[in-house]
């Protein structure tokens, strides 16, 4: 394999790189704007782009796929390469912010592909802008259909894979199929194994990254980590979900993926207006919290705005949102600087990992539904997140925490004091208490 994930990112032909990229919704952009979108990615300091291959978008009529043509995948990837960027292709197959979860209508409507409740009725899932039947991961009909789609997508990607093309990694995420119902982990693992094998057999040498569903039990998460070349947890969260950032980091580590975590896959850059609204303050918060918890790479979702989304650093007309563009640049600079003191193989909760404690002071002492004792919390007024593993690095990393905040607050990066409002919250390094 010429691409290999490491604690610091990935190695490409022996050279270390960071896995930092931004999602460009290329099918929503006219082809004559692709170059400008890719210019924006470079302008913001990204080395790669992510793109979604959405089955629903590419199935022009029932059973007939169109991945080529003037607006096609190959032409976009050729432009990616011409701009000196690499690409990560996310194959889903479930995209919660897409219409119909990204599945063709005929698949959604097929009773053989639907999850059922105890009374035999379809279960439902909210997607833009309606409820759709939950796809049944354990359904042979659905799995067969998904394998057909993956096979066709892999065939189209074969010409674009490194070293002939710019595609360096593939993304597979099954957790969105049923975020509320938590399907049997065995069904998800079986589907992940078969879909992953389909990709590996057709695209040998390309690493497959898996998204780790938040609901997955630890034993199953370890199995999933074993199926993946890299394991990622999303940080598309907001301040009220603070506790989940630590929980997701811990889950990645617990899954045994400490050597290849990709916390921040994706990292909220824009947000679908269908979901919980996110502001710039949420984005800053997630980026800082992710960095403090060992985030070593991310996919900005979405780099370029698209219909139904808001808050992306690059607007749909490809002009820059100055504040959000600044947020991306700062996050990238911090990621580079922090690597110098980040322990190798770091992760929250592992010996030798970062020993961080920080507090959030705000009008809401704790996010809804979170109990202080689940978080090492000390009561209302502040929220503590601490590495439960003992280690000698505590003092140094406490300093690191302070430094992180200072770095963000522009001193070392030439911004003016107060040019980014952090008033809704503050981050402070605090001593770990056990």
């Amino acid at each position: 394999m010429t691409v290999r994930f490491t604690p610091e990112g990935f190695e490409l032909d022996g050279q270390a790189r960071r896995f930092v990229c931004g999602l460009i919704p290329f099918t929503h952009l006219p082809p004559d704007r692709w170059d400008m979108a890719l210019d924006r990615a470079r302008e913001l300091g990204l080395s790669g782009v992510a793109l979604d291959l959405v089955w629903r978008t590419h199935e022009r009529s029932p059973g007939r796929l169109d991945l080529g043509g003037a607006r096609g995948l190959g032409r976009f990837l050729a432009r990616v390469r011409a701009h000196g960027l690499w690409a990560a292709v996310r194959l889903g197959p479930f995209f919660p912010a897409e219409q119909g979860l990204g599945l063709p209508e005929r698949v959604l409507a097929d009773p053989a592909c639907q999850a059922r409740d105890d009374a035999g009725r379809p279960r439902w899932l909210p997607v833009p802008w309606r409820l759709v039947p939950v796809p049944a991961l354990g359904s042979p009909a659905l799995l067969s259909a998904l394998l057909g789609w993956f096979g066709a997508a892999a065939e189209a990607l074969a010409r674009e894979a490194h070293p002939a093309g710019p595609v360096l990694a593939l993304g597979l995420d099954l957790g969105a199929a049923d975020p509320f119902g938590a399907p049997a982990a065995g069904e998800l693992l079986d589907a992940a194994a078969r879909l992953g094998a389909c990709l590996r057999s057709r695209l040998p040498g390309l690493p497959v990254l898996h998204g780790l569903p938040a609901w997955m039990p630890p034993d199953s998460a370890r199995v999933l980590a074993g199926l993946a070349d890299g394991l990622g947890a999303p940080l598309d969260l907001g301040r009220p979900e603070l506790a989940q950032i630590a929980a997701r980091a811990a889950r990645i580590v617990d899954a045994g993926a400490g050597a290849r975590p990709l916390l921040g896959l994706p990292l909220a850059a824009g947000c679908p207006i269908f979901g919980r609204p996110r502001g710039l303050d949420d984005q800053v918060f997630c980026a800082l919290a992710g960095l403090m918890h060992g985030m070593n790479g991310f996919v900005l979702e979405t780099l370029v705005g698209r219909p139904g989304w808001t808050g992306a650093p690059v607007r749909p007309d490809l002009s820059l949102d100055a504040e959000r563009a600044d947020w991306v640049r700062r996050t990238l600079r911090l990621l580079e600087r922090l690597s110098a003191w980040r322990p190798r193989g770091s992760g929250l909760g592992v010996p030798g990992g970062p020993d961080l404690a920080w507090a959030w002071h705000g009008p809401q002492a704790l996010p809804d539904g979170q109990r202080p004792d689940e978080l090492g919390g000390l009561g209302p007024g502040c929220l503590w997140l601490a590495n439960p593993a003992p280690g000698p690095r505590r003092a140094r990393l406490r300093l690191g925490g302070a430094r992180l905040f200072d770095l963000w607050r522009q001193r070392e990066f030439g911004g003016a004091e107060g040019d980014l409002e952090l008033a809704p919250f503050s981050l402070r390094p605090l001593e770990v208490r056990r």
């Binding site: 909210p126 802008w129 502001g279 219909p307 989304w309 808001t310 809804d368």
Partner: protein, 237 residues
Amino acid sequence: MIDPELEAVDVHPEHWLRLTRLIDSLFGGGRTIWSEPDRLARALAAAAPRVRADMDPADQARQVLAAALADAGRTPGPLLAAWLHLPFGLLQAAFDRLWPDGTALALYVVDEDLDEVWSSLILRKARGSLELLTTDRCLGADGLDASAWRTDAARARAALARRVAPVHAACFCSREALFAWLEAPPGADPLARLRAAGDVLLEPWPWRVAGAVALGRALVWARRRLRPQDEVEHGSR
């Protein structure tokens, strides 16, 4: 009532965030469903017998909302109960009487301290359904001049008519006027005073829309009486 392929374009992030936070603080929607995934999961499961794929999304949503309220042990007020339990055909008919196809609704709230649009929302209806959701950003350089919004409103309305659809109802107001109106107790509706002072411009403002807005305000107040601990957040900048 809602097109499943509703287009949401040119949505200004801050306008959307402020508006949704305001609505959340008024109605507690986030606390009821969104902030508690388990509750949403339970509501989706409880609503399953009454949901069909071919339903209007608004009808699907009210089934889930009814289940969520039942799960939370909350009794809806009379207006919300009517929305939840009346036949959907009646609601659709009322919606069509209230808002003709091929027209737009517009809301502009201006922060006069900063001379900027604090929030905006522009909606278009076609074939009985809401089909476009956008904000002032859809007008680009022709957007409302916040520093002279009282005199510029008519031009912005005309621009909306050209770019989106003829405006069926429009409200332009200052942020202070919006909150003064929302916070005034029932029976002390300051709308007439605010209009006279020029802090609220309602043009056009058909009587059916006026009636629906008054009912909506009554609904907000009914909910606030039920939850006196909640305060209306003025939103963040």
